[in-house]
């Protein structure tokens, strides 16, 4: 597109910029993870004379290890909830609406997501607070609870996580569902398949790509999220991100913090790869059963 020389200098500039501000920081974090923090008096300084895995072992022990497990549990559960909520919404947007209303509803889904994150969390805290709006609303409809005890529990963490990430599941899923060729569904219909059968054998397998994209998009940032759990769950909302942040900002054990961050990345990559393999497996299993069903039908006729 551009002249060869220009393109080359642009490429070098780009590499230089990202090497300086992205690759180098990531690299130094990797090195720090293998060092050890000198002493409390030399806060923040990391001794790199004796490199070893001790930080990683420490990260897997109490109290980090259990928190890591809780984070995984929370993220898996919240991602699943996001999927269950996102599917019907994405399906409705992509397949039941005209082009114009589709854009409007999509905008409605994304609009709150563009607003200030803290603003949204504040709103939830007001709504869920013990004598807050939810309390008032329940009293108004005649349900006289003494007070609402959702805030600062794990349930509140779930609400916060699902709330913050569900649009990220809806978007890719809606895109995939919208791109399904109507002729394919028409053909299934012409061949006498019932709506549910069409959904099960045609729409759903194709939409797996969107489900996988949604899962990855939601799960990856969610596992590292540390503000939502602490804001919604208080002391009960400890996730791995909070521990990383506290090692960097308060604990001043940077090598341990770096090791936990690296651990987080490793876990995420492993899960993303597993997710991808699983989707490939599910897809081929679906195809196999479908082929078998067709063969059976052919044999019957």
């Amino acid at each position: 597109m551009l002249g060869r020389g220009t393109l080359r200098s642009f490429t070098s500039l780009t590499y230089a910029w990202f090497a300086l501000w992205f690759l180098a920081p990531t690299g130094i974090m990797l090195i720090y993870a293998f060092g050890h923090t000198a002493s409390v008096t030399q806060a923040g300084l990391v001794n790199l004379n004796h490199l070893g895995f001790s930080n990683f072992f420490q990260a897997l022990r109490y109290p980090t290890g259990p928190v890591l497990m809780i984070s995984l549990e929370n993220a898996v559960l919240a991602t699943a909830l996001c999927g269950v909520i996102a599917y019907p919404v994405a399906y409705f947007i992509a397949r039941k609406l005209g082009p114009r209303t589709r854009v409007i509803v999509l905008l409605l889904v994304v609009l709150p997501f563009w607003t200030d994150y803290l603003l949204r969390m504040l709103g939830w805290r007001i709504f869920l607070s013990p004598l807050g709006l939810l309390y008032g609303a329940l009293h108004a409809i005649g349900w006289h609870v003494t007070y609402i005890s959702i805030l600062d529990t794990r349930a509140a963490v779930m609400i916060g996580l699902v709330y913050n990430y569900v649009p990220l599941f809806i978007l890719p899923l809606a895109v995939v569902l919208e791109r399904i060729d109507p002729l394919l569904l028409q053909a299934a219909d012409d061949l006498g398949a019932k709506p549910w059968t069409i959904f099960r054998t045609v729409t759903f397998p194709i939409s797996m790509a969107g489900v996988v994209a949604g899962t990855v998009l939601v799960f990856v940032p969610m596992l590292g999220d540390y503000v939502t759990p602490t804001l919604m769950g208080g002391a009960r909302g400890l996730m791995i991100g909070s521990l990383i942040a506290s090692e960097f900002n308060e604990g001043q054990n940077w090598s341990l913090g770096a090791a936990m961050a690296i651990l987080l990345i490793v876990i995420l990559v492993a899960i993303v790869v597993a997710c991808w393999l699983l989707s490939v497996g599910v897809r081929s299993a679906i195809l196999r059963t479908r082929r078998r069903a067709i063969e059976r039908d052919l044999a019957a006729t």
């Binding site: 720090y32 069409i198 770096a258």
Partner: protein, 278 residues
């Protein structure tokens, strides 16, 4: 395909409930920004006092000013680097293709990892200026995002235009100024505005790299979450919300090239860029 009526109503109902769920906290905050009571979390009558207070609160205004300054610088740097990086990634060959992967990796990295890495690096290099730290840390994300958008638009352009300019002996700068920038303007504006809003609202990276002297608004709000919380923070948050929403709509329009019909494409492009890590 057949649509059964009951099905459609059920799906529509679920969608309505989800949309209401998504808007619920926003409505609450907007309503509570007009709260006249002394406790920010308990309703004490209608009042616009909070908006008046917000304009008087110097620490709040300072935090907002820092946020805006950082966001403007981030937007501009992201446009410049995004243009260069985006064009660089359109070339053929592994070095250019690797750039595309790099952009996606940067956008897909959990923010807390990037943030802690940036902090370590700034301390190592001795970058202690809070503005510089915030702007650089935000610009990494912003420039990768803008580069992806620029790349998307550049790959849709006719290469012959550039070849013709090249054949006619246009210099690099002339070509950039007269051809590349005007043609890529929608992508650049969209990328710049998205980076601006990202920077304005960023919390995680800012918590890590900001200093005591340069506290941007989200960090300030977070700090006051558990201590002294005043209603005027709601008022400022609502004002920021209104302005960023306008920004985003402008970005979307720019992405689609301005016309209303093209806005749809912009929306889809946004979906495509966010689903890139897959």
């Amino acid at each position: 395909m057949k649509t059964t009526g009951a099905n459609k109503w059920l799906l529509g109902f679920i969608t309505t409930v989800v949309v209401l769920f998504l808007f619920l906290p926003l409505v609450v905050v907007v309503v509570f920004s007009f709260n006249g009571g002394s406790d920010a979390f308990l309703w004490g009558g209608l009042s616009t006092a909070a908006y008046g207070q917000a304009t008087q609160d110097t620490t709040l205004i300072t935090a907002l000013r820092i946020s805006i300054e950082v966001a403007v610088a981030t937007g501009l740097i992201s446009m410049l680097v995004g243009l260069i990086a985006g064009l660089a990634s359109t070339g053929r060959g592994w070095a250019h293709r690797l750039l595309f992967i790099l952009f996606v990796v940067i956008l897909a990295t959990p923010e807390i990892v990037g943030a802690s890495g940036s902090l370590l690096w700034f301390v190592t290099l001795g970058v202690s200026n809070g503005f510089a730290r915030l702007i650089i840390a935000h610009s990494i994300f912003g420039s990768a995002l803008t580069a992806l958008i620029v790349r998307g638009r550049a790959s849709g352009l006719e290469p012959a235009v550039f070849e013709a300019a090249n054949d006619l002996g246009a210099r690099t700068l002339t070509m950039l100024r007269t051809i590349a920038v005007p043609l890529l303007a929608p992508a650049l504006i969209a990328g710049g505005l998205l980076s601006f809003t990202f920077s304005l609202e960023d919390l995680v990276t800012s918590v890590f790299v900001s200093t005591a002297q340069t506290t941007p608004l989200p960090v300030f709000i977070l700090a006051s979450f558990h201590s002294q919380f005043h209603t005027d923070i709601f008022a400022i948050a609502v004002l920021v919300f209104v302005s960023t929403t306008v920004m985003f709509l402008v970005a979307l329009l720019a992405m689609g090239g301005g016309s209303r019909q093209r806005m749809r494409r912009g929306l889809r492009l946004l979906g495509a860029t966010t689903s890139e890590p897959e």
